[in-house]
Symmetry: C2
Subunit: 252 residues, 2 copies
């Protein structure tokens, strides 16, 4: 880095952002029933031909949405912009999780991709169906998605993305972003059960009691709903609170 001369170094052929857009949808939702949820990933199908009518690269395969970064923006801003263009949503939880730069990962040359994940709650997703243009877009269950024929190294990126979101759901308050601002214990439970089946979470009595002691969740005093059961259920909301995640401390 001391002696820099542009000609000395080969430069990349492209700089891109990819986005793993996650949503959690109810597998079924009935009156007076707590939901059963499923974690979904949004993919697009690459068109067969490009704008010049030639066969497109990786045509017909499923891929993460994304695109080239503009020199006037960061990869993160590019991901925000592309997420907006693709799904019409803004102010969404978006996070960088990896760099994909293995030589040969893209047949077009030395192309570096920054991978991000986004959390789009169900109700924001309705908007997408409206904004949806010609390109084929579909939500796949994370249990199925890796069986698809995926473009480039997106199988690897998606595997990493799923692993990251599983951890984030349990180790941070990211579940917040899958839920409405006011939610019941069984709705939070349903979100968490997409990534764990531990008894502390799956046993209703245990979890209903635990939610009251979580430092980052507060009961909305006196406010109840009957959307998950005939008996009115207490509503909760996430609050900003710093959480102690140290391995060497007890949980407070």
């Amino acid at each position: 880095m001391q002696q820099y001369d542009v000609k000395k170094y080969r430069t990349p052929d492209g700089y891109t952002s990819d986005i793993a857009v996650f949503s959690i949808l109810p597998e079924k939702r009935e009156m007076f029933k707590p939901p059963v949820m499923d974690l979904k990933l949004m993919l697009i199908k690459r068109s067969m031909t490009n704008s010049e009518g030639k066969l497109n690269i990786e045509a017909g395969k499923w891929a993460l949405p994304g695109g080239f970064v503009d020199p006037a923006e960061t990869a993160f801003q590019s991901a925000q912009r592309e997420l907006m263009e693709e799904t019409g949503v803004e102010n969404i939880h978006l996070e960088h999780f990896g760099v994909y730069d293995a030589p040969g990962r893209d047949p077009r040359g030395w192309i570096i991709s920054n991978a991000h994940f986004a959390i789009v709650p169900e109700h924001q997703l309705a908007k997408r169906q409206a904004n949806d243009d010609a390109s084929e877009v579909e939500l796949f269950s994370v249990k199925e998605v890796l069986k698809l024929d995926l473009a480039f190294d997106h199988a690897e990126i998606i595997r990493d993305a799923i692993s990251v979101i599983r951890h984030k759901l349990l180790e941070t308050t990211a579940a917040k972003d899958f839920l409405p601002s006011e939610f019941t214990y069984s709705e939070l439970q349903a979100v968490l059960l997409t990534v764990t089946n531990d008894s502390a979470i799956s046993l209703d009595a245990a979890f209903a009691r635990k939610i009251k002691s979580l430092p980052f969740i507060r009961e909305i005093t006196g406010k109840k709903t009957t959307r998950t059961s005939k008996k009115p259920t207490q509503l909760y909301r996430f609050i900003d609170a710093d959480v102690n995640t140290s391995l060497y401390h007890s949980r407070k």
Copy 2:
């Protein structure tokens, strides 16, 4: 991404790796005393002139070690290589923690940097002093390092790196990489006290008891040392064990 034409997109002018090399050194070490540790960051001083004798860019400023990524390697591999070249150490805990690509961050053009941190234990660092070539290399306490005149956007990268390592020390078993393979409770405690002053860690009796119940640390039965006290002290080692870091579970 559908319609790709090389001429359509501007490409980056450079792709680099930077490395924040951390070590923890004893502030003082005496016979029969537990150590008092301090977290240090290794920086290099940029030379005044480049290989052609012209004034170097950001000359004379302190900077993270790093350099340009070769098209045949990943940024991570580049960081490994540069860490080896700079410090002579291999098989070190090295981790990617951020992408720095803000427009204008480097006056030479559109240059993207992947930031990594490395943990080099004290005894490996001795090797460095041997391998050390002409370039000026120094270790700075993280308490002081941000007061220096730093090159490029390295102040921002370093701020992030310090925050990341503080979290990693408490939220993962990264403390392992700062310690010899066999260590006493007070040695682990000294490492942790560089980033926290919570009573659960600073109180000797509490911590000496806690270390026995940590699922990722095991007592080395019957093995003791007198390097930290006159009374022989039990030795421990880290073991591979998966740790439950879920916010919704109790610690086991």
